[in-house]
């Protein structure tokens, strides 16, 4: 149970990092969590977040799975490709839906990470209740989601994001590398 809770916590941490503008509290947690990460001043971090993850612009690394997995015909970029519908269906089957008023393009990185947090939390919950069959099932969902949805585009996204230089963006590079390594270890662990 400790393990699933710890993993949930890491996914939540990453969802915030890639889905919300930085705050002093978040940056404090980043320093403590990601070894070697050196934060830049907050306003530079906010701008870096906006340039890299909100866009538009030359440095924009759109954090949407379908832009990598289903580049639509003739390479014309479009949000909400097939991958988005697929993950949204999985969210529903796992008993959650995107909260009202929240950004609702389903395959945003932050949503996929938050979804993993939810699945890990449900696993922990089943373990607490001693329902090992359920725990196995939640774990199976994680395995499938990692394999079919989160992992397939993550290296490409991280490569695109990492193609930047200055200090504020170095923080996002560090976070991205940390995420990539963690998710990779997750994939390995799920076999």
């Amino acid at each position: 149970m400790e393990t699933s809770l710890a993993r949930a916590s890491l996914y939540n941490f990453l969802a915030a990092a890639f889905g919300d503008p930085p705050t002093p509290q978040m940056m404090e947690a980043w320093v403590k969590t990601v070894p070697g990460l050196r934060p830049a001043p907050l306003d530079e971090m906010s701008q870096a977040y906006t340039r890299l993850l909100v866009g538009p612009g030359a440095d924009y690394a759109p954090p949407y799975a379908s832009l990598y997995l289903n580049p639509s015909s003739n390479g014309k970029p479009q949000l909400w490709g097939a991958a988005a519908a697929a993950v949204e269906a999985l969210y529903g089957e796992a008993g959650v839906e995107i909260a009202p008023g929240q950004p609702r393009v389903p395959d945003h990185l932050a949503l996929e990470l938050q979804f993993m947090q939810h699945l890990c939390a449900r696993e922990a919950d089943a373990e607490v209740r001693g329902d090992s069959a359920q725990a196995v099932e939640w774990r199976e969902r994680q395995r499938a989601f990692l394999r079919d949805h989160l992992w397939p585009w993550l290296p490409q996204f991280v490569a695109r994001l990492s193609n930047t230089q200055d200090e504020a963006r170095a923080v996002y590079r560090a976070l991205a590398a940390f995420m990539l390594a963690f998710v990779q270890s997750e994939v390995a662990d799920h076999g």
Binding site: E2, T3, A6, R7, S9, L10, N12, F13, A15, G19, P21, A29, K32, T33, G36, D43, S46, Q47, Y49, T50, V54, G55, P56, G57, A58, Y60, P62, N74, K76, P77, Q78, L79, W80, A85, A89, Y91, E93, G95, V96, E97, I98, A99, Q102, P103, R104, V105, A110, L111, Q114, F115, Q117, R122, E140, A144, R173, A177, F178, A181, F182, S185
Partner: protein, 868 residues
């Protein structure tokens, strides 16, 4: 970063990661999905797709569309045959063709999903961090929360108002989308400075037609015409009206002749029987010569002219010397051609003549437009089949809120434009900010769904004006060149994510619903809810200190959700307007459109105006008016006793005006004032509004002009001065425009629109950029040879106001003295696809408007062109 982690490292680090608050991105699923089904039972049950009826808004055409939504995603868009807009503009055609031909939409309508799912969209409120503003200067955007954005805006607006400077808010908006709620806001807030897009579009046409036939936007019944003459209009491929190409096709199949007058061989001119190239802005002179011939040859409709018009004799005398030879000198159209045109249009009846923004965006547009409108009267073809129809518009009814009295003048001096439009005068307000000649300097700017920098003439001026505002908010789906100047940018919605009621472009009333096909995809507030939310956070109330933006307009109860509040607001407009149904009723109608079953009615000018039952007609009475003559205070009976309109006794103020020339006073059965007949036989209501005129003992509706007749000669025009203090001629004179080619700038520069793009806003849409990806400058082959230019050459285009590179397109399809291109290109913002494609036409212009209507002059430019 090269550190490698073991699995155990990660799990240890989770402790520190736990300091981040739990994300609120998800909630428990509704619809009984909360209990997670087991993986084995995963429903292959793809949710069945839905077709949602709504109205397109890729441009202002409002075409009815059906949007296919599969699993929450807009998959495709099809035309909606239950909505007249997209089928036909006359009801009989609509009822027939909806079942035979179905409906149509244009390329932009098809490209709607690409606008919705554009990755370059503004996704969250953004705050500027770089205080320096300028063209191409990086604003240093930082994403901020909705709360921060809304609270900042509300606080700035509250402070300005509390300081007694509410009038220093200037507001710019689109003209077909969520207009009413913005007007409500500005009126309740207390600024006179609300403007919208129309004065960049067709307000010169509006003034012309209003002066002649009493309607701002008559529409041609082209399908039933046998001769169609168009001046400077490209209906087969302009921005709007997906049903026009089929209407014109049908007319031509039925044997109609199509003649297009335009300096440029537009898509429509290319498909016409005849293309008449002419010098820009001389269309009015051509129309006068045609009128001259119709009258001289006695080919005009005498019955119609005698019965339904006024001022013909003076007009006939005025055009007596407007010979084809006179017009040839001005227009460059051969006199023999003009004679043939006149003969054709007289022989092939019904004949219709129309004009839009080609000649409409020059300094002499209004009078030229009048000359063109008048041709329809000579042909006896106004509000008749195959002619120019004054549409009926009994749509939703805006309920004006009760705002504070506003003492300060408008910055755009709209009252000095004698036939200006409620949309204001963009150029004057912006230029006066730059010059420092404004009556007062505005402080806060609100720009919703407008890219002023690329669409108002004189790009550099517009940027300077926006820089002078202390605080600028821009609401848009894209980071436009105007958003680049903002302090805060708010993400807008595409039409697929929001509501609106639309009522345009057909000749009888139909009201269609634009409704969200999907929820706003970034969780953003639609523009109307943004306005409501800002008002709420400011605590904005009406002049009676009553809540407006928090209380349901029908229920009178507090409504928490801004969406629910707005739905009630729309419902009220429907219930109190023509349809008399609720929003839910409208949603349930086929195609989500309410159609007045009466359909198109021709010859509405013959409608009889009936007096109320038991009406009493009095003679020897007088009307009592306020000192300025504008308000009716009551009436005086034949014994000298004065009464208020409700019949009770009136204390006549010393300075009141007594109108005893009125022919009759009409009281209802209870003795209350219902209306009166003025000295000229015009029937007016108790508030002085014109209702009709007396003929043969009856009251007929006529036209909405002061004489209730079509006006060849305009006494109301002659009674006014233009913005520059110059007299306006009662006749539709041809006046040379202000700016002509000279030795330094020898070529006219014009611009146009095509169905591939809307204004300056669709240029990041990959499908549309594929259709039209660059606006090369069209140059006549003779001119190009003289200048030593070849097709595809890189060239400089230069005016006294701007200079930029372009690519040459050498063609025979443009008048030799003219060069021109498609509007809307030349972005340095907007998105990665739009950026750097083509040339922006506005930068060559001066920031000025026509002095009669306030119409922005997009086409009054001269340039020189030379190789790079």
């Amino acid at each position: 970063m090269t550190t490698t982690f073991t699995r155990r490292d990660f799990l240890k680090l989770a402790g520190a990661a736990g300091a981040v608050a739990l994300g609120t991105r998800f909630v428990a699923a509704k619809n009984g999905r909360a209990a997670a089904p087991s993986l084995a039972s995963r429903a292959a049950g793809q949710t069945a797709g839905n077709w949602i009826a709504t109205a397109c808004n890729m441009c202002g055409g409002q075409t009815g569309v059906l949007v296919r939504v599969d699993e929450g995603r807009v998959a495709k868009i099809e035309p909606n045959p239950d909505n007249p807009i997209g089928v036909a503009n006359v009801s009989t055609d609509f009822w027939r063709w909806k079942n035979t031909d179905g409906a149509a939409m244009c390329p932009k309508g098809n490209a709607g999903p690409m606008a919705l799912y554009d990755p370059d969209r503004v996704k969250t409120p953004l705050k500027r961090t770089n205080p320096e503003k300028g063209k191409g200067v990086d604003p240093g955007w930082a994403a901020i929360s909705w709360d921060e954005a809304l609270n900042t805006i509300a606080a700035k607006l509250r402070d300005l108002r509390d300081a007694g400077e509410a009038h220093k808010l200037v507001w710019f908006s689109e003209d077909h989308s969520f207009v009413d709620i913005q007007k409500d806001f500005t009126e309740l807030y207390g600024t006179p400075n609300y403007h919208n897009h129309s004065n960049l579009c067709d307000v010169a046409r509006k003034a012309s037609f209003k002066l002649v036939v009493g309607d701002e936007r008559p529409l041609g019944d082209f399908a039933n015409a046998r001769h169609i003459l168009l001046f400077g209009w490209n209906p087969l491929s302009a921005t709007k009206w997906s049903h026009l190409p089929r209407i014109f096709t049908r007319a031509i199949e039925n044997g109609a002749k199509l003649v297009v007058v335009d300096p440029y061989l537009s898509q429509t001119a290319a498909r016409a029987h005849e293309w008449i190239p002419l010098r820009p802005a001389t269309d009015g002179a051509l129309a006068l010569a045609l009128a001259h011939l119709l009258i001289k040859w006695n080919l005009y409709d005498q019955e119609f002219v005698n019965n339904w018009t006024t001022g013909f004799d003076d007009f006939a005398a005025f055009v007596a010397d407007k010979t084809p030879e006179w017009a040839e000198q001005i227009t460059d159209v051969p006199a023999a051609t003009i004679r043939r045109m006149a003969r054709d249009m007289a022989n092939l009846r019904p004949a219709v003549v129309d004009v839009w923004s080609g000649p409409g965006q020059h300094s002499n547009a209004v009078q030229g437009g009048r000359a063109i409108a008048i041709l329809n009267a000579l042909l006896g073809n106004v509000d008749r089949p195959g002619g120019l129809i004054n549409p009926e518009r009994k749509g939703p009814a805006r309920q004006k809120p009760h705002g504070p009295k506003i003492a300060q003048p408008r910055l755009d001096n709209l009252n000095l434009y004698p036939f200006g439009h409620g949309s204001g005068v963009y150029t004057e307000v912006l230029q006066s900010i730059v010059d420092g000649t404004a009556a007062y300097m505005p402080k806060i700017g609100m720009v919703i769904f407008q890219n002023l920098v690329l669409s108002v003439p004189g790009t550099d001026n517009v940027i300077e004006a926006l820089k002078k505002l202390e605080f600028l908010v821009v609401v848009d789906t894209m980071l436009s060149e105007t958003a680049e100047m903002a302090d805060i940018v708010i993400p807008g919605t595409t039409y697929l994510e929001r509501y609106d009621l639309t009522t345009n472009w057909v000749t009888w009333t139909s009201v269609s619903l634009r409704q969200p096909a999907v929820e706003p995809i970034f969780g953003q507030l639609p523009e109307y809810e943004f306005v409501v939310e800002v008002a709420r956070r400011m605590g904005l109330k009406d002049a009676d200190d009553k809540d407006f933006f928090t209380v349901g307009r029908i229920s009178g109860q507090p409504v928490d959700s801004t969406q629910a509040w707005y739905e009630e607001y729309l419902s009220e407009q429907l219930l109190k307007g023509g349809p008399k149904i609720s929003l839910d009723d409208l949603k349930a109608l086929p195609g989500a459109v309410w159609i007045d079953p009466k359909g198109t009615r021709y010859e509405k000018f013959k409608d009889e105006v009936h007096l109320p039952d038991g009406a009493q007609t009095k003679t020897g009475y007088a009307i009592v008016k306020s000192a300025d003559g504008k308000t009716i205070l009551g009436f005086k009976d034949d014994r000298g006793a004065a009464h208020k309109p409700d019949g009770s006794a009136l204390d006549v103020p010393a300075d009141a005006k007594m109108d005893d020339k009125v022919q009759q006073i009409i009281l209802d059965k209870d003795g209350k004032l219902w209306g009166y007949v003025d000295a000229k036989g015009i029937l007016k209501g108790a508030d002085g509004s014109e209702k009709g005129f007396r003929r043969d003992g009856k009251f007929l509706k006529g036209w909405s002009t002061p004489s209730r007749l079509i006006e060849f000669t305009s006494a109301q025009a002659a009674a006014r001065k233009d913005r520059n203090g110059n007299a306006i001629d009662a006749q539709p004179v041809y006046t040379p425009r202000d700016w002509f080619p000279n030795a330094d700038f020898p070529l006219y520069l014009i611009n146009w629109k095509e169905s591939s793009h809307t204004h300056s806003r669709t240029f990041n849409n990959p499908w549309l950029i594929e259709l039209m990806g660059w606006n090369r400058l069209a140059i006549n082959s003779v001119t190009a040879a003289r200048l030593g230019l070849k097709d595809g050459d890189e060239i400089w285009v230069e005016s006294p106001y701007g200079k930029a590179k372009a690519l040459a397109r050498v063609t025979q399809g443009i008048h030799p003295e003219v060069v021109g291109w498609q509007h809307g290109f030349g972005h340095w913002g907007l998105g990665h696809i739009a950026k750097g494609k083509g040339t922006a036409d506005g930068s060559f212009n001066k920031t000025i408007s026509d002095p009669i209507s306030g119409m922005a002059l997009h086409k009054e430019v001269c340039v020189k062109v030379y190789r790079v």
